[in-house]
């Protein structure tokens, strides 16, 4: 029964604006849980491989989107990390995938292990391989994020480069 505070609204108007809390007894809760498990088992059983792949690609896409948007840098979430995830989601072996994007397996391993930075051509090939599901810009921004963090935090690089800079400006912003 809907609370009287919603009197004056039709059921459709209420459903259009709310999900109202519904209290169930312990018995009803147990029954609800069981019914849901059964229904979901049936749904999952009827899910095609394409539906599963679509959902998994969306998962990676959303993870990439949120990471790119976030102001935080996470050392673990490198280009190599996301590339490894991509391979895992599409269930491809490294040699198979390397052949599909026209690179040597060694280069693929170097990219996954973050021993090499991806060329623009690789980033474009990844977009093409995913049939635009994961845009090239997403891969590019992950690389950019790593670069930005490296530039911002690398003290050694600053120390090494100091000797090449003369007559520094006498201003401080």
């Amino acid at each position: 029964m809907i609370n009287k505070q919603f009197a004056g609204y039709s059921d459709e108007e209420i459903a259009d604006a709310f999900v109202l809390p519904q209290k169930l007894t312990k018995r009803q809760q147990a029954s609800a849980a069981l019914e849901l498990v059964k229904a979901r088992k049936k749904s999952l059983g009827g899910m095609s491989e394409i539906d599963k792949l679509t959902a998994n690609l969306l998962q990676l896409k959303f993870q990439l989107e949120d990471y790119i948007k976030s102001e935080d840098f996470n050392e673990e979430k490198s280009f190599g990390y996301f590339l490894k995830e991509y391979l895992h989601l599409i269930n491809k072996k490294r040699n198979e995938f390397a052949a599909e994007i026209g690179i040597h397996e060694t280069l693929l391993s170097q990219l996954i292990n973050n021993h090499r930075e991806p060329a623009n051509s690789i980033i474009i090939r990844l977009e093409l391989h995913s049939n635009n599901a994961i845009p090239a810009a997403y891969w590019y921004r992950v690389v950019e994020k790593e670069k930005e963090y490296f530039i911002q935090t690398n003290k050694q690089l600053r120390k090494n480069q100091k000797k090449f800079v003369k007559n520094r400006l006498a201003v401080s912003l």
Binding site: E13, D16, A17, A32, A39, Q59
Partner: protein, 155 residues
């Protein structure tokens, strides 16, 4: 994601984010129909705002069930002026539900599921509007159903 300003029929870009502790006082029963503070410990609470504006147009409480790869919508409410025939914006609840679907897929991939326990009188409205599947006491979305809602409200 976007909502539609009914009077001008113009789209407004929205953002959905976590409600900060201090904002729980803003979510009053008078404007948001419930005492949201009481859900603080048991659910993750999110708010919907027009991009660049402070006013909260809707809120939603989610409970995650990692063992079941499922997120339950415990409570969702549009602000008072966005309910009924004279509402200002269209699509607040839809965008919040789409956000929940996105979170679920982001966490659980193809196993993802979004569920809610509807009031009996409202059940068929959720089924018709969001394509939810009837599982007796609960309604749920998974697989293509989640994807369809995300596409409808996100693109």
């Amino acid at each position: 994601m976007e909502i539609i300003e009914i009077v001008s029929n113009s789209k407004r870009k929205i953002v959905i984010s976590s409600v900060r502790d201090e904002e729980l006082n803003v979510l009053t029963k008078r404007r948001y129909s419930f005492i949201w503070k009481t859900l603080k410990e048991s659910a993750a609470i999110y708010k919907l705002q027009i991009d660049g504006e402070d006013d909260i147009l809707g809120a939603m409480a989610l409970v995650d069930f990692p063992n079941e790869f499922r997120i339950e919508i415990k409570l969702l409410a549009s602000s008072k002026e966005n309910v009924g025939k004279i509402k200002k914006y269209e699509g607040i609840a839809g965008c919040l539900i789409a956000f929940c679907c996105r979170e679920s897929i982001k966490k659980y991939g193809y196993m993802a599921c979004v569920s809610l326990i509807p009031k009996t009188e409202l059940k068929h409205h959720y089924i018709n509007k969001y394509g939810m599947i009837d599982a007796g006491w609960q309604l749920y979305l998974d697989g293509k159903g989640l994807h369809n809602i995300i596409k409808k409200y996100s693109l």
